[in-house]
Symmetry: C2
Subunit: 335 residues, 2 copies
């Protein structure tokens, strides 16, 4: 998960700004609300919080929540708080992810575990999570609380699935979808569904479905990037997922079509604790040649199509257009 | 925090059984409810959960919640769920504590981080916490939700304070009380207060005060044990807090009375990354000779007295007696 933000940010900035257009002012308020929720008078907490606010990301999930609340052009004021809660939950997950993965950088800045310590990142993740919950309980809406606490649990299950998803020959396509649904699509679906409850409750189910399919397409696009990045002119080794033995859709899609020799090469990578760049580059080529990237792309397009379908019941409006554009944004990131 | 359970368990078993008498049947139900809440069909989660259920502790916090709910002899059925939520929150904290402290054993069994991995313990703590919250939200009581989510935040702040409490000459008595209130007393106060809301709401404030003072006495007794354990016949080096540079009340109480030479010896320990057993034993003697242990004992007795005072408004009953006995139980643990 660690790479999502870094990879996606730069090229799509303009498109993201367009998507955020209809909710730009309220998105600023979400930023202030996040700051308010994480403020504390303990110097150590304040210093970690300030660092985290510096590395604030694209605010894609709050954007989805705000757009969903505005589908009928009458978003409730509490959607601001909801956006802050959703982003804080996301941030808490990232802090624990970085700690678990021993990541050093995120969004071009040092991670909490690298700048402070591993201890502080575990505790700080818990802190952010608990502050998000305080903000959530203060909203006083049981339906929204249920959505958000359910998704908090799904995110942890997604992380657990991730730890088990390291066996190239046993991890299948259905398990992959379960994994990315838990770790990525669930929070986007929750943002959309709970957002709808703040001003467009009749579209709750449609928005939940849209968020789920969008999130699936988002993660598949991200997993494809880990393979295609390698072809770029950057010269970076790429293939981080393979390096960490993470089985993703391009590999799953390629496996049935690879020769016995190629299959052995893949097994070799997954048996190697620290596979060399050459071996990684080899497997990337094997996957590409066997049509794995194409396969993943088609699956992603199917989810994107389903997301668009889910929007068909919504009235035409700039908000609906922004939701449609979000699909293209998710698909086009640096590919 | 890691040592609380291990140290306290053996000698006070009988007394604890007496305290739990009035709620014994319901405490069994809390156990089943915990099991129900943490069950999952992902094999990895199930295997960690089973291990955690094996190392189940004294259930002191659910006992407090159940007793508080029964002060008027008409406890509500939902107090079972509450007890499970409180214990799961406690368990989540312990799992993250062990991970942060790299502890190897708890309650005589390997910790999650040592038996599985550091990664799994971070994620599993999040999992337990999120399941506790699902159980909490399902209760549908906003007042209880506010108490529990507030305390979740306090616990993280207590952990952060702990990380900053490593400078013997700057960490004062007031800061110490803030720290132990956050990390220990807050959850006992929350268990008592939310317990009261499940059958004896008119005693909510009294029970919150009782739980707070009890928790303060509990942690002070625990911190004293870290000094007195050393005098026991076990021959263990003891002084784990000093080894980890944790400043607790005996040291704070001793400091004003120590000679210049002794003060330098203390500074030497806190400047030493891995202080030798001899140095630790020296500082323990210095603290004892300067009356630090006596000082902490008197402060603990004051909190115990305040806890008893808080109970004075309650009607006489076996439950009130059990709450009174809980104070003695907390004070007498292996001392």
């Amino acid at each position: 998960m660690s790479g999502i933000a870094t990879r996606a940010r730069v090229p799509a900035t303009a498109a993201l700004r367009d998507i955020q257009g209809p909710v730009a002012a309220r998105l600023e308020d979400v930023g202030s609300e996040i700051e308010r929720l994480v403020t504390d008078d303990l110097p150590l907490i304040q210093s970690v919080s300030s660092h985290l606010l510096l590395m604030r990301g694209k605010m894609f999930r709050p954007t989805l929540a705000l757009l969903a609340s505005a589908v009928l052009d009458r978003p409730e004021a509490r959607s601001i708080r909801l956006g802050a809660v959703v982003e804080l939950m996301h941030l808490a997950t990232l802090v624990h992810d970085d700690s678990v993965d021993h990541s050093v950088l995120r969004r071009g800045l040092p991670t909490v575990n690298s700048l402070f310590s591993h201890q502080i990142s575990v505790i700080m993740g818990d802190f952010l999570y608990s502050r998000a919950l305080i903000g959530l309980v203060d909203m006083g809406d049981l339906a929204i609380m249920k959505i958000i606490t359910d998704v908090a649990n799904e995110l942890t299950i997604g992380e657990m699935r991730q730890l088990a998803a390291v066996d190239a020959l046993r991890f299948g396509e259905d398990e992959y979808y379960q994994l990315i649904r838990n770790k990525t699509a669930s929070l986007m679906a929750a943002a959309c569904e709970s957002g709808a409850l703040c001003g467009a409750a009749e579209y709750r189910d449609a928005m939940a479905r849209y968020g789920d399919r969008l999130g699936m397409a988002f993660q598949i696009a991200d997993d494809i990037l880990d393979y295609t990045e390698n072809e770029a002119v950057t010269g970076k080794p790429g293939g981080l997922d393979l390096k960490e033995h993470k089985v993703t859709l391009p590999l799953i899609g390629a496996l049935p079509n690879v020769s016995k020799g190629s299959r052995e090469r893949i097994e070799q990578l997954f048996a190697d604790e620290a596979p060399a760049d050459e071996l990684i580059a080899d497997v990337i080529s094997i996957v590409a040649d066997a049509g794995g990237i194409e396969y993943a792309r088609r699956r992603g397009e199917q989810f994107a199509h389903d997301a668009e379908q889910a929007l068909s019941v919504l009235p035409e409006s700039p908000v609906r257009s922004a939701l449609t554009d979000s699909i293209a944004y998710v698909m086009d990131r640096r590919s």
